[in-house]
């Protein structure tokens, strides 16, 4: 065993209560750090699941047709003034052709976990005298389920849009008094009508989707919206949701389609998440700062207590580097052992709190939405060790500079 490690271990052990209290101080800091990270991580994961979970991370749409301004069409005459307004025609078709090869290409694109072609367009549900505006969503059910996970959100019936079957939200069902197996007459914005049978009623937790979304097969939607052979949207899920912007920009350049990323669509939500992440980091930073001061103060005392012994070691020819290393190792050991103990306490605390029954904002069943991840523990252990080393540098340097003659004579 190297000399520096041997001496550091012996000093560490002989510290007794002083060592135990320092380790406990580090442990408390680390356990709180892990607890805060797990709690905020759990809240964030719940919120993301609830708000972004049923939405695509990226949507590809056809670029809008831009009608030419009148001024480009008419040749201006002298002393004549034209007043004109450029208005988009409601009848301009926006569609994606050759979509099957595009979907195939997106399937192979790294960072994308799900691709779902869709046809969406406005329409109405007519039930007796009630007319409810809806949005038709023509989907390939298996692909679409990987985006919205509708199957998991079914409250009644099954997730089946084959033939003339449809799946609707709980709010629409309630609004129109619809039950499973009811027949619904629908009309698209193109004036085409189809009767669908309700096979499933879902609840994704977002009122707008529960009320407006009307899921049918891709073929039926293409027919209703006069888009046979075409689609007008591709929905994507990304492996890392916070890379959605980068991937969207990349796809926009690659496909020349209009891309929408959830990060740009849900800016307020994103900024709330970022604020949470920021406060999490801030709290953990100050925890580490407190840990650093704790380790440094104990090592300063240790240097004073051991100054005569340091002088003796120097009189034997101990190198300045060795003396420095003895105290750096002590700082490292304090950080390592304290963070390991703190990780155990923090993990136990997270587990215990997750067992308290209740309903939190994001997930029913547990009062605290804890999400303990191995990375929090690894981060805490590594940062505590680094903090231990940095905190020990000043006392270690002080020890290394001790004059052996002075300390041997005067202590």
């Amino acid at each position: 065993m190297p000399f520096e490690l041997k001496v550091a271990l012996r000093y560490f052990r002989s510290g007794g209560m002083q060592t135990v209290l320092t380790i406990l101080g580090v442990s408390v800091g680390i356990s709180v750090s892990i607890f805060i990270a797990s709690l905020i991580g759990g809240v964030q994961a719940g919120l993301i699941e609830r708000i972004i979970g049923s939405l695509p991370h990226i949507t590809l749409e056809p670029r809008e047709s831009v009608p030419k301004p009148l001024g480009d069409i008419l040749t201006p005459q002298k002393s004549q003034i034209y007043l004109s307004r450029t208005e988009k025609s409601g009848l301009v078709e926006e569609k994606i052709s050759d979509w099957k090869s595009l979907v195939g290409m997106l399937d192979r694109e790294p960072g994308i976990t799900a691709v779902s072609p869709s046809v969406a367009g406005p329409g109405f549900v007519i039930a007796g005298t009630s007319v409810q505006p809806i949005t038709f969503h023509g989907i390939e059910p298996l692909r679409a389920n990987r985006i919205t996970d509708l199957n998991k959100s079914m409250r009644e019936g099954t997730y089946d849009v084959s033939g003339t079957n449809c799946v609707i939200g709980v709010s629409l069902a309630k609004e129109l008094g619809i039950r499973l197996k009811d027949k619904l007459r629908t009309r698209s914005g193109r004036g085409r009508e189809t009767i669908f049978t309700v096979t499933g009623i879902f609840d994704v937790g977002i009122e707008e989707i529960n009320l407006r979304s009307f899921y049918i097969s891709l073929t039926n939607a293409q027919h209703l919206l006069n888009l046979v052979g075409y689609i007008n949207g591709i929905e994507l899920k990304t492996a890392e949701i916070f890379k959605a912007n980068d991937i969207a920009d990349h796809l926009g350049a690659m496909t020349n389609l209009k891309v929408k990323s959830w990060m740009r669509q849900q800016k307020e939500f994103l900024s709330a998440i970022q604020a949470q992440t920021g406060s999490n980091l801030l709290i953990r930073f100050f925890m580490m700062l407190a840990v650093a001061f704790g380790i440094a103060s104990v090592l300063v005392v240790s240097v004073v207590q051991k100054s005569r012994e340091i002088g003796i070691l120097k009189s034997m020819g101990a190198r300045t580097r060795s003396v420095t290393l003895i105290f750096v190792i002590q700082g490292l050991l304090t950080g390592l052992i304290g963070s390991l103990v703190g990780s155990i306490i923090g993990s136990a605390l997270c587990w215990a709190l997750a067992q308290i029954p209740g309903d939190n904002l994001t997930k029913p069943g547990s009062l605290f939405p804890m999400k303990l991840e191995a990375i929090y523990i690894v981060q805490s252990v590594v940062s505590a060790m680094l903090v231990g080393v940095f905190a020990s540098l000043a006392p270690a340097r002080r020890a290394a500079k001790l004059d052996p003659v002075e300390v041997i004579r005067y202590g």
Binding site: M1, F3, I312, S315, M316, G317, R319, T320, P404, I408
Partner: protein
């Protein structure tokens, strides 16, 4: 050859402490100590004995003049060089033994080896055990330093100073904190090592009884060498 040179050479050595307010402790010290000598440095308190010992021990540098240990001039060495010189040539024995209390007696004796190159070799462990046997503490090797009597601790300190076959041992009042009987035993132990192994000893002492049992007495008064004489023993 380095081994042929005197163990210690002091040439015109002076020492001044302080920058703004300067205090001169040593003036123009000149002497040499040959290998295998057993000498005492005596003088009243504050005369500069310990400063002289620290200069010889490469714990301090002279303000003027030259100190040479086994042919190496201290003035040419940086802090790491001085540390290397101490590891190589010099063992210290202090008045208050200063063993490391967190280590056993044997570990204290092994400490110079740890300092020099981390883990001691098997041969070095054997050497440390042999030294412990020679200072009469063979059965105390695993005792904590704090579990030994004052005399035993000082014996361990002697063994520690000698570990690594150091050719020069500097002892600052080694018997000053011991009763007469124990002090005599400690003195005898050092003398044995000198006679049997040829180790050079320089002892700072207040006790004229011990000083007169050495081979040479260097008397320091007010920072100057007042007397440097050989001691004639009855047998000589």
């Amino acid at each position: 050859m380095a081994d042929a040179s005197p163990m210690v050479i002091m040439e015109g050595v002076g020492k001044v402490y302080g920058n703004k307010i300067q205090t001169r402790v040593l003036w123009d010290i000149n002497f040499r100590v040959e290998r295998g000598e057993f000498a005492a440095i005596v003088g009243p308190s504050g005369s500069g004995k310990s400063t002289l010992l620290n200069l010889i021990g490469a714990l301090d540098k002279p303000s003027e003049g030259e100190v040479r240990i086994s042919g190496e001039s201290l003035g040419t060495l940086d802090d790491e060089g001085l540390a290397r010189l101490r590891r190589q040539y010099i063992g210290f024995i202090f008045q208050f033994h200063y063993l490391l209390p967190d280590f056993t007696a044997l570990e204290n004796v092994l400490m110079p080896f740890y300092v020099a190159h981390s883990a001691p070799t098997k041969r070095e462990v054997e050497e440390a055990k042999e030294l412990m046997e020679r200072v009469g503490l063979k059965d105390r090797i695993n005792n904590r330093a704090t579990d030994l009597s004052g005399g035993q601790q000082q014996r361990v300190a002697i063994a520690r100073a000698l570990a690594g076959r150091k050719p020069l041992i500097l002892a600052d009042e080694p018997t000053g904190n011991l009763d007469t009987q124990t002090g005599s035993e400690i003195f005898r132990t050092m003398r044995d090592f000198n006679e049997q192994d040829g180790t050079t000893f320089l002892l700072v002492t207040h006790d004229p009884r011990f000083a007169e049992q050495t081979d040479r007495v260097i008397s320091v008064v007010d920072g100057r060498i007042a007397e440097d004489r050989a001691v004639l023993h009855p047998s000589q």
